[in-house]
Symmetry: C2
């Protein structure tokens, strides 16, 4: 079985959350928008799904994953589906369901990180909303980052399986999402992450373990891993960072 | 089995999306934050879960649903769980998975509706971000509303089951979410919805059918249904509306 992943080429964005689960699972997949048109890929192939030319179940936006008749959109939905199918989700039902809640909460956190540079919406460029972005980013740095990071820290510390993961007793898609989010925050807000990180030792240790796993460490060193940049969700605008 | 739902009392908000599925399913539930402290309810009982005093699996925020050992947060996760358990989800796997994507996309739409009055974040009052809200609301009215509503319209029109629902051949939690969102938009943006509605006849007809269902119509006429107000997600600020 080969999955087809569709996401904007050239930026990690939300697609990277899906890629990490596929890579950690050792699943076969094609990163369609990065393929040539001659292989059925390219951005136009992605838009064909969105405008309904490839079937009735059209996504509103990327990322989306195609597996035969199944088409899934929304990062939190896709990663839960893949994680539960490929042994990257907790076995116990209570943990399994809670992992879904964690991934959806991470999607909210990622959305808030995005909104620091686009508080007035995606119809305007960052350059047209810089003053508003500065205000939103300040609130994000001073309140939201600690709220979310503190929540993950508490989940790891109180994990009823006694493990050092977010849910259950082994690595899950929830942990992979936290890793990518912390990486993004380190890229976008390096000064703030430097002051905040010591308060969340369990989060930071978990992220280190995720990065050191054999499949993920190989992936991170490969050319399939896209660096963060200023087209993505996590953007390094120094004027939005602060201690 | 009785579910315990926790959500802010006094506003419909995201909790209402969960209530509608519980009501359409005919499921027993307690609306905990509306109950008296003597019954184990109240807002303090809700905060006890959030701060981890009721168990290790703590939600970041309401709404959340407790069912024995299972605790679920995030609206899109909760409604999918309930819908799939109570016959309010498609049977065919492709539709079942796609319904999850629809509910998560609706959660994004609801988040954008919220951000029209809080573009700089929840740390500031609306009164402290009115100018920014006006700009964000304009983009929401002029671009985002049509984008989302047009997507739902296309899903109903192209439904592979040939039904007039969003996914599968019967009412699902995805339809209930669309209904509540359209109700909220009608409350918050009555002028804009008046000009937009004629373009989305399938959406409007589906919402009418949802409201006319026996359980939902009884619920809408009951005192369990909370009216929209300016403490919630969908707020009627006339200065944010327009044709």
């Amino acid at each position: 079985m080969t999955y087809d992943l569709y996401y904007w080429p050239g930026l990690p964005g939300r697609g990277e959350y899906v890629r990490l689960v596929l890579e950690a699972a050792g699943a076969e997949y094609r990163d369609m928008a990065r393929l040539d048109r001659s292989q059925g890929g390219g951005v136009e192939a992605m838009f064909a799904f969105i405008r309904g030319a490839k079937g009735p179940r059209r996504p509103l936006a990327p990322p989306f994953l195609v597996d035969g008749d199944i088409i899934l959109s929304q990062t939190a939905v896709i990663v839960a589906f893949l994680g539960e199918r490929h042994g990257l989700a907790p076995d116990l039902e209570a943990d399994r369901m809670f992992a879904r809640s964690i991934a959806a909460t991470t999607a909210d956190f990622v959305g808030e990180a995005h909104d620091t540079h686009h508080p007035l919406g995606v119809a305007l460029y960052y350059e047209d909303q810089k003053a508003e972005a500065a205000r939103r980013a300040e609130a994000f740095r001073n309140e939201r980052m600690a709220k979310f990071l503190g929540w993950y820290e508490a989940l790891i510390g109180d994990n009823p399986a006694g493990s050092s993961y977010l849910a259950g007793d082994a690595l899950s898609y929830a942990d992979l999402g936290l890793f990518q989010t912390v990486e993004g925050l380190r890229y976008a807000f390096p000064r703030r992450m430097k002051t905040l990180s010591p308060d969340y030792p369990l989060v930071m240790a978990l992220c280190d373990r995720v990065a050191a796993g054999p499949r993920i460490s190989a992936y991170l060193g490969s050319d399939r891993r896209t660096p963060f940049n200023e087209d993505g969700i996590f953007r390094h605008y120094p004027e939005l960072d602060g201690d």
